[in-house]
Amino acid sequence: MNGGQDLGGMHGFGPIAPEADEPRFHAAWEKRVFGLAMAMGYTGVWNLDASRSAREALPPGEYLTSSYYAIWLKALERQVRAHELATLEELSSGTVSTPPAPVARVLKGEAVEPLFARGFPSDRPVDAPARFAAGERVRARILNPAGHTRLPRYVRGHVGTVETVHGGFVFPDTNARLAGEAPQWLYTVRFCGRDLWGAEAEPGHAVSVNAFESYLEPVEPEPVP
């Protein structure tokens, strides 16, 4: 979605402001939100793409004026309610008044270390051969889905070069709406900065994104001049 999260190339946010001490968390509640989001993500009621989608679905003004873990919190509350794991009244009061819903898994304390040290890979086999090859010129498709996508606005319509073919990965656009992992080939596509931002832009840089196969289309061979 073209929401508040799609920030690449925007202006007006001011200078980057590193903190002197850079604490990982800035309040006790931030730690709890972090832990709750991780633990609830493990239940299998939703997945990581759905959580990203819930965060970016905050109205843009709210997204841009909320702190990072406040975004996580608001999205987590929405997910909990949308999946009927708890009611608004319960979240407001902190008191349980309805029975729990069934969940596929619960993350146990002793399982955290081994599970998180192993990780949760997203690569998946894909039957079809890759459509594009390293070195090939491709165009990022013009897509403006109202739902979750990982193709940022700033590359859409632009031509770049496939640099790496990474194999099959879970497709976020379907996975985010719990419509299946539908794995696709994933590529690294490199764009010239001037192509993305124009001739007046800062010179001498290239930008790459990781693009799923359905985000890309072939570029017609250019006519000989």
Binding site: D6, L7, G8, G9, M10, F13, I16, A17, P18, E19, A27, A28, W29, R32, F34, L36, M40, R52, R55, E56, L64, A70, L73, E77, V80, L85, A86, E90, L91, G94, V96, P100, A101, V106, L107, G109, E110, V112, E113, L115, F116, A117, G119, P121, S122, D123, R150, P152, Y154, F169, L186, G193, L196, E202, G204, H205, V207, V209, N210, A211
Partner: protein
């Protein structure tokens, strides 16, 4: 068992008891959420503790610095790291959530690498820990892809015009770590001493390693 205040801060299972006097609306809101999720059986409080402890205290840029130092001293490791970073890091016991599919990109005199996630906050947790606020915030996310040289300038990094900048926007589950160039004058340093030169920002690309013998 005698507990001093510090023990309470870190180990008391009623995490909020000592904060009663200063609970903000956000504290109350999160406490309510946690109470409900725990009481309904979706969340094990011990898992929360373990998650927070892991990512607050155990996982951090010291891991990435070990990887960089090893790559500086061991050309075959460096080659394995650049070819397929995830198993190479596993050789050092490093990996896991947020780093299942690692890519390491090496700085050269021709190209400086910079990592960003314009769409959210993707970051290589196993090597760098949780990201700092600036990495997750709109100024960095908006500007890194359109004016990386200006962004580097704000971090005090001025590159020669001849050195191009390659920006890696982490739009899928690949996670990027920058392998900085080994600083001059470090021929005599061992791996641990080299690792001490490797800052977190050097592995994001917003900084360069410390020079040897510097003030630290």
């Amino acid at each position: 068992m005698a507990q001093n205040h510090q023990d309470q801060d870190h180990h008391d299972h009623d995490h909020h008891a000592h904060e009663e006097s200063e609970l903000s609306p956000m504290d109350l809101r999160v406490r309510a959420l946690e109470s409900v999720l725990v009481e309904k059986g979706y969340v094990d409080p011990a898992a929360l503790d373990a998650l927070i402890e892991t990512y607050e205290t155990k996982v951090g840029p010291h891991n990435g610095a070990r990887v960089v130092a090893r790559a500086w001293v061991d050309p075959t490791f460096r080659a394995r790291l650049l070819a397929d970073a995830t198993p190479a890091m596993r050789e050092l016991g490093i990996g896991g959530r947020g780093g299942e599919h690692m890519v390491v990109v090496a700085n050269t005199p021709e190209t400086h690498n910079l990592v960003v996630c314009t769409l959210c906050s993707c970051y290589p947790w196993p090597v760098l820990g949780l990201p700092p606020v600036w990495y997750k915030s709109p100024p960095y996310r908006s500007r890194a892809v359109i004016e990386p040289r200006a962004v580097l300038g704000e971090f005090g990094v001025t590159l020669p015009a001849s050195q191009g900048i390659r920006v890696w926007d982490s739009t899928a589950e690949l996670r990027y770590m920058v392998l900085p160039m080994r600083p001059a004058g470090t021929a005599g340093l061992d791996e641990a001493a080299l690792a001490a030169l490797v800052t977190r920002d050097a592995m994001i690309g917003t900084g360069l390693p410390r020079p040897p013998g510097g003030a630290g």
